[in-house]
């Protein structure tokens, strides 16, 4: 059987791989959406935080002998803490100003962080092996899927849905949403809004770091890994609608799949297809697929 001129096995294989890269887009764009939705900050250093997550895994293993599973928890915690420091010492002063200031500041932080890692580790990247338990491949009938890739999809979907639940369905999430709508009012009820905002940014940073640890065994851990990815992730957020949580998860996965299929039918365009879609979406629905016009 053939689909669009290619064997259905190859087609299904590419679809699955698209889902894997979509998982990364989903988890990264989710972090961006949470930060933008609740803080109104365009967090340009998201890629650098993702890179630091991957490096935390590498440093944990090579210097401290801490394994992958521990770093999957500790890495995001450490990077989240760094995020909290960034928010407390710098970002907090910018909330009243135009978006542009936040964007410039976070872009500067990116250059700084990348520069530090580049001068210590160089750009060729560091090797990181997948954990023992996830070595080998699953036979899906139409392809051999490395177990690790399957784990990426499961882990990122779990985290994405957990985040959505936390923000949309729990009391803490309700405070957060209320805090962004009307901070003064929420504060009047005795809730510490600035602390909540710090928590939110740290949480977004931790999400990025989680994606970084997940990516470490798949791609080379390199200081540039974040900036290679972040532009695409921003496009995903714009397509999904800035600040829409469920929207960014769904568009992340969807665009991963579309990009994967482009790699088969017209590989030369695989780096641009996301931006073409972004342009079309912006013309037809300026607020994004899931965004609300303000």
């Amino acid at each position: 059987m053939e689909i669009f001129g290619i064997p259905h096995q190859a087609f299904l294989g590419q679809l699955t791989l698209g889902l894997v890269s979509g998982s990364f887009y989903a988890i990264l764009s989710l972090g961006l959406a949470v930060i933008f939705g609740l803080l109104n900050i365009i967090n340009f250093c998201h890629g650098a935080l993702y890179m630091m997550g991957a490096f935390s895994a590498f440093i944990g293993l090579s210097l401290l002998g801490v394994n992958y599973w521990v770093m999957l928890v500790v890495g995001p915690l450490v990077v989240g803490l760094i995020g909290a420091v960034i928010e407390r010492t710098m970002l907090q002063r910018l909330y009243k100003l135009d978006h542009l200031y936040g964007l410039l500041l976070t872009f500067g932080i990116t250059l700084l962080l990348e520069g530090i890692f580049r001068s210590v580790y160089g750009v060729s990247g560091q090797p990181y092996q997948a954990p023992e338990a996830l070595n080998g491949a699953l036979n899906l009938g139409f392809m051999m899927l490395p177990k690790y890739r399957a784990w990426v999809v499961v882990a990122s979907l779990t985290v994405c849905l957990g985040t959505w639940y936390l923000i949309e369905k729990t009391r803490l999430g309700a405070y957060l949403r209320a805090g962004t709508e009307n901070p003064a009012m929420v504060q009047a009820f005795g809730i510490n809004v600035p602390l909540m905002v710090t928590f939110t940014y740290a949480f977004g940073a931790a999400l990025a770091a989680f994606a970084g640890v997940l990516a470490a065994p798949i791609i080379q851990v390199s200081p540039l890994m974040g900036s290679n990815l972040i532009i695409t992730v921003f496009a995903v957020v714009v397509i999904g609608g800035m600040g829409s949580i469920l929207g960014s998860i769904l568009t992340g996965l969807g665009l991963g799949v579309i990009e994967g299929l482009t790699r088969v039918f017209y590989p030369e365009a695989s780096a641009t297809v996301v931006f073409v879609i972004m342009a079309i979406v912006l013309v037809l629905r300026p607020a994004g697929l899931f965004g609300k016009e303000k």
Binding site: G13, S124, A130, Q220, V264
Partner: protein, 413 residues
């Protein structure tokens, strides 16, 4: 009225002084034959992007080592030698703007490194226009000495023809007859793919297909799946740097290496270092130079390592050699005039720790021996950076495209 005539007087006096000054400095220049009283060499390289470990600050260090080895006091013909450097960010437009600025405003006489083919081609054009010298030690495209050759630009370390000729031939001879290419979608990748495909076909192999991936592709899994379904024996990686690393990593993960073999067509020692030997063992690699070739290369590399904390790539060694040979030629020619220096290089056999009896041809190609290397197994590697078996020395006469086949108009046929 009085003030006006005073002003007039001042102006004419100033004009006279300026003319006189211009005249004398012109006379001085004619005497020393070194433009601007300094020999300025620019290292234009990727300082921060995906190729920064191949050239970058290492190339600047190598250039400085060459100056010191040429003369302890860093002088040639009684004038100072100066090294300047800049980041071209892998962008052809940034590179040619910088090159223009260097040649026009800063008095740079020679630009080297120039890794990345699109950068190399752009700067070669500017160099010809400004009648200066560019010695490309970093880029790979054979277009530099074919369609786009010019009398002011030299291609030094390696090129896609030499790589294809080394690795392609060796792999086909070992029985790797059917090939599929994973190609970086720009000048260099296309050039490497077509050169290798020609070698494969000429030696009785066949090419089953190719997939072109964008530069800096993070995820190679779907390209590898296509390579896997082609059922070719050999998957040729016509890419470089981070792209090669990620492709090899994914190939191991997807088990492609169990049924098919990888042929890295442009692999640097830093890539092997980043991937580790288990992922790369037994792979054939063609390079112009390896740090562990002989006593001379080892001694130089140790000096380099002390400062850079990484072993040199062939681009670093090439940059060292290019700067050294350029200075020697300047000294011998008695001037830094571009045409005179290049003419001098053409009539000398060039030897140093990078090459023995290298020659500069009319198409701008520097011809020297190349090496076919094979990556060691973990158990065979005795020390860090001990990565290659030297399998074959490819003689200078066979390593590069024969001059008779060059499409460079400057070559008389």
């Amino acid at each position: 009225m009085k003030t006006r005539s005073k002003l007039k007087f001042k102006m004419s006096a100033a004009a006279a002084v300026l003319t006189l000054a211009g005249f004398t400095s012109g006379a001085l220049n004619a005497q020393s034959k070194i433009s601007g009283d300094v020999v300025k060499i620019g290292v234009l390289t990727d300082m921060s992007g995906l190729y920064a470990d191949l050239g970058g600050t290492g190339s600047v260090l190598a250039a400085n080592m060459a100056v010191e080895d040429f003369a302890k006091d860093r002088m040639v013909l009684g004038k100072k030698i100066e090294i300047v450097s800049a980041d071209h960010q892998n962008k052809a437009d940034v590179a040619s703007t910088k090159a223009r600025e260097w040649y026009d405003r800063d008095g740079v006489d020679m630009i080297t490194d120039l890794l990345n083919s699109s950068v190399g081609l752009a700067v070669a054009k500017v160099t010809a226009e400004k009648k200066k010298v560019s010695i490309n030690t970093g880029a790979a495209s054979t277009r530099l000495t074919n369609e786009e050759c010019n009398p002011n630009s030299i291609h030094y370390t390696y090129d896609t023809y030499a790589l294809a000729n080394g690795t392609g031939k060796a792999v086909v001879k070992q029985g790797g007859k059917s090939w599929f290419f994973l190609t970086a979608d720009y000048a260099f990748g296309h050039s490497l793919e077509s050169d290798t495909a020609n070698v494969v076909k000429a030696n009785g192999g066949e090419v089953k297909g190719a997939v072109r991936h964008p530069l800096n592709a993070a995820d190679f899994s779907s390209f590898l799946l296509q390579a896997q379904s082609s059922k070719a024996q050999i998957v040729g990686l016509a890419n470089a740097g981070g792209d090669t690393i990620n492709a090899i990593k994914a190939a191991n993960e997807f088990g492609l290496t169990k049924t098919q073999a990888l042929a890295g067509l442009l692999v640097f020692i830093t890539d092997i270092h980043a991937l580790g030997l288990p992922a790369t063992q037994n792979m054939y690699v063609t390079e112009a130079w390896y740090w562990d070739l002989n006593e001379q290369t080892r001694a130089w590399s140790r000096r380099f390592f002390e400062k850079h904390k990484k072993m040199p790539t062939m681009i670093h060694a090439g940059t060292y050699s290019a700067v050294l040979q350029y200075l020697k030629a300047t000294q011998a020619a008695g001037t830094d005039d571009a045409a005179a220096v290049i003419a001098q290089m053409k009539k000398t056999k060039m030897s140093d720790m990078f090459m023995q009896n290298g020659t500069l041809r009319d198409d701008g190609r520097v011809v020297h021996d190349m090496y076919l290397l094979q990556v060691k197994k973990q158990s065979e590697s005795k020390a860090p950076w001990d990565y290659y078996h030297v399998r074959q020395k490819i003689d200078a006469a066979e390593a590069f495209q024969p001059l008779a086949l060059s499409r460079c108009p400057a070559v008389k046929k």
